[in-house]
Amino acid sequence: MARKAATTRRETLKATAIGAFALAIAPRLALADAASVDAEIKKLYGDKKPAEGKIKLDVPQIAENGLVVPINVEVESAMSAADHVKTVHVFADGNPLPGIASFTFTPESGKAAASTRMRLAQTQNIICLAEMSDGKLYSAKAQVKVTIGGCGG
């Protein structure tokens, strides 16, 4: 009788410990990485390699609050009917999901620039990819150090 009770207690403790460990490790495993960003880009543009330059990616070097991190993207372009920026995608390699936002521009935009605010779970890289009207791709990358993550953990 006493022996059975002891076993049950041990099992309970063991189960609790495993449960706590799983909880502790789960959010880490769920995070995206550089490979998932590459996979997203591959889904959109196949094996086309983006060039450096043209993009001005403005993010803070250090973000105190990961819940609200300002981001400003500007792509150099004449924004004429023949030569303009079509789409700008923004990705992050350390969030639960790699996507942040995608902006679609037209010649009427006048300027291929947009600002918004994003959530960052941890210190990570922001990757920006611009597609021009002639099909050329450009990319830019910047790291943001996050002091307090923004994933409601």
Partner: protein
Amino acid sequence: MSNKPTPRVRVPATAKKDEVIEIKTLISHEMESGQRKSADGQTIARKIINTFTASFNGKTFFEAKWHPAISANPYQSFFYKASESGEFTFAWKDDDGSTYESKAKLSVG
């Protein structure tokens, strides 16, 4: 926080022809990411505004697709090259199917 999202838009009322103007928008919305868990361990369902579009006289000139990584009360700024007088329509599309709209007039002279 189930108040109806209220859009706020800052756009100049007048512009010169071919002037590139900046438009700033903000909408109150919790942007529930679908990543958070409630106190009893249940995942809180995702509910975000997934698309924002800006049109002038019915023609879309800027669109933003938002992922759950966009902050609550999403802010968006962008530009427009003024060509003629008319009206802007800004539309936010929610995961639940509803659309929130805001309009603003622009006179070009």
